[in-house]
């Protein structure tokens, strides 16, 4: 007997773990589950382990103090050998983890794996998703920069809208009256102790249940789940057409796990670490905070919802979504598993993906944000000034100086908050332009108190020139009827 075998047996005589481990890894699984579709769960676990390792490495240098966190991140980026790489691995690992958890969830949903008897596995999975998102948000806070600071302000503003308890929740979340040292410390505790501890516990239960209940068989159209017979049928299936998980299925999990770790490392190497952006100094107000990638859809939603709907949607929406996810296995615990026979399930996934994808894409452009420097930075295109009168040029000046450009684009540059004004004269007559400028409306501020009559006249004269060469400006029919040809002679406008 070899030395190694003898040492191994010495340990196992005391630990007695070899038999249960062998039983676990060699448990029979339905042959067609040894598929590339079944690798996402183990990939999520792999990235989670990677996050634990890189997280511990970062904690060797990181200082969870509002006064020093930012400089300790700078030290990681620039002073500590390969600190930037570990930060980049942790940041990209976070993105990959959220993505893989979502893909895993979609696969489980479409393959009907949440049905009897795996309801609890799904429910624990829902909590794992929440914790993963919690890790992503709290991790963004630990990167204690401008985005983190104002992101906390946004979180506090949302939390404050809870009826009655709102202000108390804000103070509990911030650990005090403002975003400060105590805030970072408690998010550190959440990110490093509380949520990871819960995650380890819940992941263990999740995996244990997959082992105890068996992996979901490949869904066949027409093979319907019934509570009375399912477990017997599954048992027969694994007996008749089962293969041991090790080595029949495990090699695909292992290949994919290595591939994912390599992909995280490649992204880390190529794109580098995330931030930190500016220092978390609240007196620096020249900043336009944006959330991390996986919360961009929320950023878009918060910009596009009508003001009166915002608070109800923010407070009730998450409850409804969570309730739907938790109740799903009870509402459809039996029946067809195959996505080929579940059109509503497929449509739900498509609709969610398209909605989230569209919002995320929109948030990358943020057309609702004024361009703070457009008024002084983006010149009025030359062609719009060619052949104009002095009054119209004065109007172009008013247009820029009064920051109209921050929300309205000309020649594709400037804000997108309001409509582009390249052809505004086609849409609005002189009277309508004056009214819109003075009174505002349609989500535009009123400028009546801020423009004197001369400025308004000049501005409107300029706006009236903004129409494509081949298209006549809008005309007021009633004015034409009363004044005849004279009606076309606009004060300051072109004949």
């Amino acid at each position: 007997m070899g030395m190694i075998t003898r040492i191994g047996e010495w340990f196992d005589h005391r630990l007695q773990l070899a038999a249960p481990i062998r039983e676990a890894v060699e448990h029979p699984v339905p042959r067609n589950t040894a598929s590339w579709w079944y690798v996402f769960g183990s990939a999520a676990l792999t990235v989670f382990l990677l996050q634990i390792v890189t997280g511990i490495l970062l904690a060797l240098i990181y200082v969870p103090s509002a006064a020093e966190a930012w400089s300790s991140l700078q030290a990681l980026n620039h002073d500590v050998a390969l600190g930037w790489f570990i930060r980049a691995m942790h940041g990209w690992g976070s993105n990959f983890m959220v993505a893989i958890v979502l893909i895993h969830m979609v696969q489980v949903f479409l393959f009907g794996a949440y049905k009897f008897p795996r309801e609890l596995t799904w429910i624990i999975g829902v909590f794992l998703l929440l914790m993963t998102l919690g890790m992503a948000f709290s991790g963004q806070v630990l990167r204690f920069d401008q985005d983190a600071y104002w992101g906390l302000g946004i979180g506090a503003s949302i939390a404050s809208r809870v009826p009655i308890a709102g202000p108390a929740i804000v103070k509990l979340m911030l650990g005090g009256p403002i975003i400060a040292g105590a805030t970072l410390s408690r998010f550190f505790a959440l990110h490093v102790f509380v949520i990871p501890g819960l995650l380890i516990g819940f992941v263990s239960l999740h995996v244990l249940m997959v082992l105890k209940l068996g992996i979901n068989e490949w869904p066949m159209p027409g093979r319907v789940v019934k509570r009375a017979t399912y477990e017997r049928e599954y048992h027969e299936l694994t007996k008749k057409d089962g293969v041991p998980f090790f080595p029949y299925a495990v090699w695909k999990d292992m290949f994919f796990a290595a591939f994912i770790v390599l992909a995280v490392a490649a992204c880390a190497l190529y794109f580098g670490p995330f931030g930190p952006s500016g220092t978390p100094d609240p007196t620096i107000i020249q900043t336009a905070p944006k959330p991390d990638y996986f919360f961009l859809w929320l950023y878009a939603l918060l910009s596009l919802l009508p003001p009166s709907l915002e608070t109800p949607v923010l407070l009730i929406g998450p409850v409804l979504v969570l309730a739907a996810l938790l109740l799903l296995p009870f509402l459809s615990g039996e029946g067809e598993k195959s996505w080929r026979r579940r059109p509503i399930a497929v449509l739900t996934v498509l609709l969610s993906a398209i909605t989230l994808g569209t919002f995320t894409r929109l948030a990358q452009f943020a057309p609702w944000s004024p361009h703070m420097n457009a008024w002084s930075g983006d010149p009025v295109p030359d062609r719009m000034l060619r052949g104009t009168t002095a009054l119209q040029r004065q109007g172009a000046l008013v247009f820029q100086v009064k920051q109209c450009r921050n929300c309205h684009s000309l020649g594709d540059s400037g804000g997108k908050r309001g409509p582009a004004l390249d052809s505004v004269a086609v849409r609005l007559t002189q009277d309508q332009l004056i009214r819109q400028v003075i009174q505002g409306g349609g989500n535009m501020p009123a400028y009546g108190n801020n423009l004197n009559p001369a400025e308004t006249t000049a501005l409107v004269a300029f706006l009236e020139t903004l129409h494509p060469a081949g298209q006549a400006p809008a005309r007021d029919a009633s004015r034409d009827a009363v004044l005849g040809d004279a009606g076309e002679k606009r004060p300051g406008g072109q004949p």
Partner: protein
């Protein structure tokens, strides 16, 4: 052996042990809960709020709105720069002031003042406010948050100390018209 309905000696001790543990846990839960909720309970007595000077009246020209910074009255040693807070000071005339929080009334992003157009604009979701803090356009449901302010010994002073949020007390709300209008 005891019958099922009769309490055995061991059963009794087990119950007593559970009860004892429960009492210890309940006793310890009191300080733990008070510690956890300390940031709320302190705030309930308005212990966070104080009057803070922003600068001499003469530093703020009449009819203009200027950025001012102050240190939050409640400070912890690890706070670093985060206790420095910015606010917008509008001197209407004489000793009439309006001091607005830097935080947008929508979701708290820092608003910027544009004197030329007389608007505060928010870079995040596009909220805009007029010079008196009232809502002009965009997602905010209300005007800018306004700190209670007064002039004392030639200093502009505000009552501050808490992050203004949409759900906080209406004391910080900007009325559509200032009280002297």
């Amino acid at each position: 052996m005891s019958t099922p309905n009769e309490l055995s000696r061991r059963g009794f001790f087990t119950r007593m042990a559970i009860l004892f543990n429960g009492l210890v846990a309940a006793a310890l839960a009191v300080p733990v809960t008070r510690f956890l909720l300390s940031s709320i309970t302190r705030g309930r007595a308005s212990a966070y709020l104080s009057w803070v000077p922003l600068g001499k009246v003469s530093e703020f020209p009449e009819g203009e709105t200027r950025l001012a910074t102050f240190q939050n009255p409640y400070v912890m040693p690890t706070d670093g720069k985060t206790v420095d807070t910015a606010c917008w000071v509008r001197r209407i005339a004489g000793d009439q002031f309006q001091v607005f929080a830097i935080n947008c009334a929508h979701l708290g992003c820092p608003v910027r003042w544009f004197p030329q157009s007389g608007l505060f604009m928010c870079p995040c979701h596009g909220g805009a406010y007029y010079r008196d803090g009232s809502r002009a356009s965009g997602p905010p449901e209300r005007g800018l948050f306004e700190y209670p302010s007064k002039v004392e010994n030639g200093l502009v002073t505000i009552q501050a100390g808490e992050l203004p949020t949409p759900g906080a007390s209406e004391a910080l709300a900007t009325t559509e018209k200032p009280p002297w209008a």
